[in-house]
């Protein structure tokens, strides 16, 4: 199902053309999976008619983390430190809870140096889209293994991976995340729809997208390669996002479609390809992921969704106006209050 279409085929609801969501020209390798993800971000933002001044783009360090420069050039962006983007996003979203934060990271950036920030961001339910462009290697430092490469995996320059991998989706679910998805950069439609759902979700939305590194990890025997993904992707469902102003299609057999209405209005429709998969079951999701790992299956889709947990800014019980825009009147207590405190210390 195609969720939304530009009003007249050329511009979206803000009257913007898709090209206006572009960023600067990519400097990544031709064919790099990360480039297609950037394109999907552009698609999703365009289709959702996102006002770019309300978006912030954040990243860590890596080829993947360079990509925020390559989409939505009219949004503020920050390319932070290796592994530390979640902390920057935490501060930024608390400072201004009106902004939509889109974070791009890599498997090295998230799974190793940034593992603690990742887990703590999830615990806190920092409101943001968190994309892991997962290629199983450190692209930017030339092909070392990352923590998401599977045991026994071979790469061109670094031999065989001797340790088991970390599964960023399982880690997310265990840490309390309420939106956890896996996809494949070669599956344009699924990535786009998942991105739209993630952008509409109010807490941390994790997207672990297998994104082949054509330079260091694209041998057909690598399960992070393009060929492998194309041949083996196994979507659990077909996902579509229905915006509030669109009509929900109802021509499906009972039990074949799961619908999740987000607080902001859009509805996520999951047309089941694997009967019985319930995206609202935490243990179900974990069990299925574990099974997939055991069997070497490449399952994709919205693995888990639950919108009940409050986000960090909600928990902080902040005033309506973003903290960043408060003025002296709001942030400097009165002269009398200081006099009173001084008297207490006399």
């Amino acid at each position: 199902m195609e969720a939304t279409r530009p009003v007249n085929g050329k511009v979206n609801q803000l009257g913007l053309q898709k090209i206006e969501y572009d960023g600067s020209k990519t400097t990544l390798c031709a064919g790099c999976g990360h480039n297609s993800i950037s394109q999907r971000i552009i698609d999703a933002a365009y289709e959702l008619s996102l006002p770019q001044h309300k978006v912030i783009k954040l990243s860590g360090i890596g080829c993947s983390s360079k990509s925020p420069a390559y989409f939505m050039g009219r949004a503020h962006g920050i390319n932070a430190l290796h592994g530390r983007m979640p902390t920057v996003a935490t501060g930024a979203t608390v400072a201004n809870h009106d902004l939509l934060a889109i974070g791009v990271s890599g498997d090295g950036d998230t799974g190793s140096i940034g593992f603690s920030p990742y887990k703590h961001m999830l615990r806190r339910n920092v409101p943001m889209v968190y994309i892991i462009e997962n290629n199983g290697v450190y692209g930017l430092t030339k092909g070392q293994f990352s923590a998401t490469s599977d045991e026994g995996q071979k790469t061109r320059y670094y031999g065989t991976q001797r340790f088991p991998s970390l599964d960023m989706c399982m880690e997310a679910i265990v840490a309390g995340a309420g939106f956890v998805a896996r996809s494949f950069s070669g599956d344009a439609k699924q990535v786009r729809e998942l991105l739209k759902a993630a952008m509409a979700y109010k807490g941390t939305a994790v997207l672990d997208i297998i994104s082949p590194c054509v330079t260091f990890n694209d041998e057909p025997d690598s399960n992070k390669s393009f060929a492998y993904g194309k041949a083996n992707e196994y979507p659990l469902h077909e996902i579509g996002v229905v915006l509030p102003f669109e009509e929900i299609q109802v021509d499906y057999e009972p039990g074949t479609v799961q619908q999740v209405k987000l607080h902001d209005g859009p509805t996520i429709q999951l047309r089941k390809l694997e009967a019985g998969y319930d995206a609202t079951s935490k243990m179900g999701a974990l069990a299925r992921l574990d099974q997939a790992r055991e069997k070497g299956e490449f399952i994709t889709g919205l693995l888990y969704i639950d919108e009940s947990r409050p986000t960090l800014p909600e928990l902080e019980n902040l005033v309506e106006t973003p903290l960043a825009w408060l003025t002296e009147k709001d942030t400097r207590p009165s002269r009398e209050s200081l006099d009173q405190i001084m008297r207490e210390f006399m």
Partner: protein, 630 residues
């Protein structure tokens, strides 16, 4: 109650000698976690209410319960608040240390000791002993408190230490002449007027004071007398002052990770923000986040500041080192950040509950590649408050990390002060372009362009709705328009501008406080909590015929007046609490032509400096010079 008069016939200073009034120190040697803090604070506050200048220093171990702790109260009619090496009056409540504590008393010193001590013996006969009826009084007080329901039976052990400590409050009050109404007032203050604990403690104080009047003949010369030196003053810890400063400075985001001695700054921030910074409907105009580590804390600060908050963190040396990469990033990407470093003794865990000024160079140069920062150096609790708010103005004005270098002594001890003044200037958010300005400037605006000649560019905040308002912040090479660049020229221009910004800061940061004496050959230079010892040392030196000028540094980078001060004196003693003379080294780097005038007094043993030490060092060197014919 048993009579317990113990005296030593040969004790000097006893009886007939001259009274020593308002000029001595008391040390309470207790066990950490025993609850003596309330007793110590009651004494300090009572003396303060009597109008006597007083200062309290807690020397505590890195431990929660069981290790020794010493709380020193200095009473000084002359208003000196530095640590003194000699303590005349000992309150001995700790078996582990009693032998050594007694050994350290000067001849004629006084030892009040608990009758519960097992290892106590009268090892010296040149001091005066008073035994305190701790066993009986605390048992009876506990029984009474439990009977009246003031405390629960299960809490007996918890309260035992606290009530036992009150015994020395009562006896000292009687023996030193502390005004009982002042004690009462102090207790009210201490317990914020809560009736039950006030009464319970007051009873013990009264009772033991009465007992002392009847049973302990006064043998020592130490007394207090009311003065009028504290009226209108406050008594407060530097960390509380700093937290209040931040709140009045419009802090909107704080992120921190627990570490002694910085933790109480964040605790107080939390406490006062909850009182002062909520709207009538309970919404917060701030967020305080306990991060997972210091890297995360500074990351949150950088993210929040980038998005437009006034953000801060507080930590100590080990945390500062973890923040290195982010501080370098914030310097180069020009993101404001306020970073409190409440210094403790390192390297590593070092002496985590002892003081040092060992992070000066680290803070000044923290980062990788070429970095240098604005560092504020509060020398009093009042300046902790003041710099607590101006640090934000500076950070936002200069779009850069600003350090506030406090220390354990300043941060965690009790200092007398004039009340803090309400910020005189409005909040300065620095050079931020709003949507209108961006539209007007169009393509002329460049995020890293120096249009005002001061090295400081203009920034925009996320959320600004204007074409061209957005830019991409990156730690990698960038040009004036924030575009990626590896060109040498762009790099050089940017770094030169950052250096210029630093130059602009010289005359913008808090100026040194200079007391230049006509004709003085000798200058003294110090910063932070070394100040009280230097102030006192100057008086001592003057008595020895050495007239001194004094420059108290309040910030880095140095202003021109620092150079002038050095140039105006033949010798400038640079006094600091670290091993490697960090301030002196910086001065030598900055003013090589004046380097030979600098004499370093760098010393750090974990304790606050004393005037005796400073005086001794200066005199020894002066005599050496005189001997050498200069």
């Amino acid at each position: 109650m048993a009579t317990a008069v113990l005296q030593s016939a040969s004790a000097t200073g006893a009886g007939g000698g001259k009274d020593i009034i308002n000029d001595f120190s008391i040390v309470a040697a207790t066990v950490n976690g025993s609850g003596s803090q309330t007793a110590n604070m009651t004494l300090i506050r009572a003396l303060f209410h009597m109008g006597i200048p007083v200062n309290g220093k807690n020397l505590f171990p890195s431990n929660i319960e069981g290790l020794p702790t010493w709380f020193t109260i200095r009473v000084s009619k002359d208003g000196y608040i530095a640590r003194r090496d000699g303590v005349e009056i000992l309150v001995a409540f700790n078996d582990q240390t009693v032998v050594e504590d007694i050994r350290l008393l000067p001849p004629g010193g006084v030892c009040f000791y608990s009758d519960e001590l097992k290892l106590f013996n009268r090892s010296r006969d040149d001091i005066i002993y008073y035994q305190l009826p701790v066993k009986e009084v605390s048992r009876e007080a506990l029984d009474a408190a439990i009977a009246s329901g003031a405390i629960r039976k299960d809490d007996r052990l918890k309260f035992k230490g606290r009530l036992a400590s009150m015994v020395y409050v009562g006896v000292l009050a009687q023996m030193l002449g502390i005004d009982m109404t002042a004690i009462r007032q102090a207790l009210e203050n201490q317990f914020k007027g809560r009736r039950k604990p006030v009464e319970m403690n007051w009873n013990i104080v009264q009772r033991t004071a009465d007992w002392a009047r009847e049973n302990l003949p006064k043998l020592d010369p130490y007394r207090v007398q009311p003065m009028n030196e504290t009226a209108g003053k406050i008594i407060i810890e530097g960390n509380t002052a700093g937290a209040l400063g931040a709140i009045y400075g419009g802090m909107t985001v704080a992120a921190w990770y627990p570490i002694t001695p910085a933790t109480s700054l964040a605790d107080e921030l939390e406490e006062y923000a909850a009182k002062l910074r909520k709207t009538p409907d309970g919404k917060a105009t701030y967020a305080i986040i306990q991060a997972e580590d210091e890297i995360a804390a500074i990351g949150m600060v950088v993210g929040a500041s980038w998005a437009g908050a006034r953000a801060m963190t507080s930590t100590s040396g080990p945390g500062i080192s973890l923040m290195t990469e982010f501080v370098g990033f914030a310097y180069y990407t020009e993101i404001p950040a306020v970073i409190w470093d409440v210094q403790r003794m390192g390297p590593s865990t070092g002496l985590p509950t002892r003081v040092s000024q060992g992070d000066l160079l680290k803070a000044y140069l923290l980062g990788h590649g070429d970095t240098k920062h604005i560092v504020l150096l509060p020398g009093s609790v009042k300046e902790c408050f003041e710099f607590g708010h101006t640090a934000f103005d500076l950070a936002e004005r200069f779009q850069t990390p600003v350090f506030v270098l406090s220390d354990l002594d300043l941060g965690m001890n009790y200092w007398m002060s004039e009340p803090f003044e309400y910020p005189a200037k409005p909040i300065d958010r620095g050079k931020v372009l709003d949507a209108e300005a961006v539209k007007r400037l169009g393509r002329e605006w460049g995020r890293y362009k120096d249009v005002d000649g001061d090295g400081i560019p203009w920034r925009t905040l996320p959320g600004t709705e204007a074409p061209g308002a957005a830019y991409f912040t990156r730690g990698s090479g960038h040009n004036e328009y924030a575009l990626y660049s590896e060109r040498g020229e762009d790099w050089l221009r940017n770094m030169a501008r950052l250096a210029k910004k630093h130059e602009t800061a010289r005359e913008y940061v808090p100026a040194p406080v200079i007391d230049q004496r006509q004709g003085a050959r000798v200058g003294l230079m110090a910063f932070g909590s070394a100040d009280p010892a230097v102030v006192e040392a100057r008086d001592r030196l003057a008595k020895e015929g050495v007239e001194t000028s004094y420059l108290r540094l309040r910030a880095l980078p140095f202003s021109e007046s620092v150079r002038d001060f050095i140039a105006a004196h033949e010798e400038v003693y640079v006094i600091e609490m670290n091993r490697d003379a960090q301030l002196a080294s910086l001065l030598r780097m900055e003013y090589p032509e004046l380097a030979t005038r600098l004499v370093s007094i760098a010393y750090a043993d974990g304790l606050p400096l004393t005037a005796r030490f400073v005086t001794g060092q200066v005199l020894a060197h002066e005599r050496e010079l005189a001997g050498a014919g200069r």
